[in-house]
């Protein structure tokens, strides 16, 4: 700084200030990259981002605090920032409900079995198609991919499952959708782009078969993408609602999402059908309880995802990234 002040007008010093400005901007980049010199506009973006954060987080927060509050306070609009009249009645109702806990168990079973089948099927589809030397590769790919763009529709599919006797069995929840094309494509891309072809050649020379190579070399190397698609599939199964709505009518085979729908949208209560014998006051209490039961059951259903979410969110991002590279 002192040097530049000595002779401000020489050409040499102009050069120096230019370089310094560049260095300065580089330092700024380290501290706060891409901001430049503008305090004002960076404040604007921070304020906006915070606003977005609130918009996203508040509805979620509202559900959590409502689930811990008394139904009366919620109905009166008193629950705003923290729970009012803290109570666990909503969660007690969840535990006592004759459908929620069994369906929670069903959902876990569907999710675990379904995801295993998904993984197996996706790998055995994606790996051969990732091999550039596979004869007829593009035709086989088209055979699979065509189903993405054209389908027989809801009714013929339903008739098929009915004729196969799959209605009201676990199979209808875990077999359809065994290979999701999107996940198949990102897995295939990962196999062909990330694993060097020389490895295959070397393995071949050492006498490995194609399946041996897949099991011993390709799969261990593909762990990151397997993690990604496992998560995608697991979330998909956990959130699966429409298949259950179509194909599951036995209450004891309901997944959680279907019970959720009954509670949230069809006024299914926790308390059996004999509401006729209740007094008006009891009815009011029940109605309030019903309200917080809704919030509690939302929290319970989101719990497994919310617990694993912080650990896995970086994988979700990675999945998107690898999916965006077409191969």
């Amino acid at each position: 700084m002192v040097e530049t002040n000595k002779n401000p007008n020489t050409e040499e010093n102009q050069e120096v200030t230019y370089v310094k400005a560049k260095q300065k901007s580089k330092i700024k980049q380290l501290l706060a990259p891409e901001i430049g010199d503008e305090v004002g506009s960076s404040i604007i973006s921070t304020v906006f981002a915070t606003l977005i954060l609130l918009i996203i987080i508040y509805p979620l927060w509202f559900i959590v605090i409502s689930s811990f509050s008394s139904g009366k306070a919620v109905a009166a609009g008193e629950v705003f920032f923290l729970p009012v009249d803290i109570t666990l009645d909503g969660y007690k109702a969840v535990l006592d409900h004759h459908l929620i806990m069994p369906s929670f168990k069903n959902s876990v079973i569907y999710m675990v079995c379904g995801t295993c089948i998904n993984l197996f099927m996706t790998v055995i589809t994606a790996y051969p198609l990732s091999r550039k030397d596979l004869i007829g590769r593009s035709k086989i790919t088209l055979f699979f991919a065509f189903t993405m763009w054209f389908s027989g529709g809801m009714i013929p599919t339903f008739l098929l499952y009915r004729d196969l006797g799959m209605i009201n069995t676990i199979w209808v929840m875990i077999i359809p959708g065994a290979v999701a094309m999107g996940n198949m494509v990102i897995t295939r891309t990962y196999f062909s782009k990330t694993i060097p072809e020389e490895l295959l050649e070397a393995a071949k020379i050492d006498g490995a078969s194609d399946i041996g190579y897949l099991l011993k070399i390709a799969l261990p190397l593909a762990k990151p993408i397997l993690a990604v698609i496992t998560l995608y599939y697991a979330v998909g199964h956990w959130n699966q609602f429409f298949a259950a709505l179509l194909y599951i009518t036995d209450q004891d085979k309901y997944p959680l999402q279907l019970v959720l729908r009954d509670i949230l949208f069809q006024g299914e209560t926790a308390f059996g059908g004999d509401s006729g014998s209740l007094s008006i006051e009891d009815m009011a209490i029940l109605e309030n309880l019903q309200q917080i039961l809704k919030y509690s059951v939302i929290v319970v259903s989101a719990l497994p995802m919310m617990i694993i979410y912080p650990f896995v969110q970086k994988y979700f991002v990675r999945g998107i990234m690898s999916g965006s590279v077409k191969g």
Binding site: G36, E38, S41, L53, I124, L134, V179, L264, F265, P310
Partner: protein, 332 residues
């Protein structure tokens, strides 16, 4: 080694260079068969997926012939009598068709165009937040709602709009107001509820791809612009936006191809008798008439479904042609 590879490639090369089919000489065919036999394990792996796709995806397409028949429960799909295009004509001549198509298109186009700018703005915002860790934190929070199930999402929407102690009612109550409108009962409000809840749920997740694009912009552009004294908004406008536009256009094109396949599960859940005139879409109608109804109208609803599939398929093809022309991008 090299010569061996070259030899192997010879029979295939002309095939790839020219798109027209070249008949292989018997000798080449034999060679190819031998090669295929050498990788029989790969084909063996594909057998199970092949059967799966055949049974669970192609067979329903074959079963869709019921759209051209009068379905009789006793006779089943195969024995029912053929009736030609009767069900398609019935659908086209019924007043229902225009209502369903109009609702489907208006909701999905609304969602497509409204949903486009928000992820872009979000990504730009993340880029220019001065506190990086804070930005990362906000980013991971914003894509959390994407993983909320459709049932819970619809439940959140209905509860938030509940005039009695719902979220909006509570917030307005703080400022002395009162929320008395039952938005779910107003047909005209349905598409907005549908679209804006979708934006809330998916903007963060949609921003990821734009963040990746922004991260790939060469920093020297920004450095040079900063040295020249460009403001943040000037840099966004002249550097970031031009980089983002191809991705935006691609998303738009792909969205156009999917315009008939809107997430109708949410529509089904948010639907009630009050707003049905604006919320009934092709798929929800098919579900109600073909499966949920006490006397399912199998052939008629299959015809409607097939009608939708066919148009959607044409759309995807056309859109992909456009995408190919536009800067070598394609979904296949």
């Amino acid at each position: 080694m090299e010569t061996a590879i070259q030899k192997n490639q010879v029979p295939q090369k002309p095939k790839k260079a020219k798109k027209t089919k070249i008949k292989l000489t018997p000798e080449q065919k034999k060679k190819q068969l031998k090669k295929m036999a050498g990788m029989w394990q790969l084909y063996a792996l594909l057998i199970l997926p092949f059967i799966y796709f055949l049974v669970f995806h192609y067979f329903p397409m074959y079963g869709a012939q019921i759209a051209f028949k009068d379905y009789l429960t006793v006779e089943g799909v195969w024995g029912s009598p053929w009736v030609g295009l009767k069900h398609f004509e019935r659908f086209i001549n019924s007043g229902k068709m225009w209502e369903l198509v109009r609702n489907t298109l208006s909701i999905s186009l609304y969602a497509l165009f409204m949903g486009l700018p928000f992820p872009v703005l979000l990504a730009l915002m993340f880029r220019y937040i001065p506190f990086k860790r804070y930005g990362k934190f906000i980013q991971s929070v914003t894509y959390a709602p994407h993983f909320i199930s459709v049932v819970v999402m619809a439940g959140i929407v209905v509860e938030a709009l509940n005039p009695r102690g719902g979220m909006i009612d509570t917030i307005l109550g703080i400022f002395g107001g009162d929320w008395e409108i039952n938005l779910m009962g107003i047909p005209e409000a349905f598409s907005s509820v549908y679209v804006w809840s979708g934006i809330w749920q998916n903007m963060g997740f949609g921003a990821i791809i734009y963040c990746a694009v922004l991260a790939s912009v060469d920093t020297t552009y920004h450095e040079a612009a900063m040295v020249d004294g460009a403001t943040m908004f000037q840099r966004i406008w002249h550097i970031d936006i031009p980089f983002l536009i191809p991705q935006v256009v691609l998303n738009l094109i792909l969205g156009m191809g999917n315009v008939l396949n809107v997430g109708f599960e949410k529509a089904l859940l948010l639907q009630n008798t009050l707003n049905a005139s604006k919320s009934e879409m092709i798929s929800t109608y098919v579900y109600k008439m073909g499966i949920a109804a006490s006397l399912p109208d199998v052939s008629y609803t299959t015809a409607i479904g097939l009608f939708k599939s066919a148009i959607a398929f044409i759309l995807v093809i056309v859109v992909n042609k456009i995408a190919r022309k536009y800067g070598e991008m394609s979904i296949w």
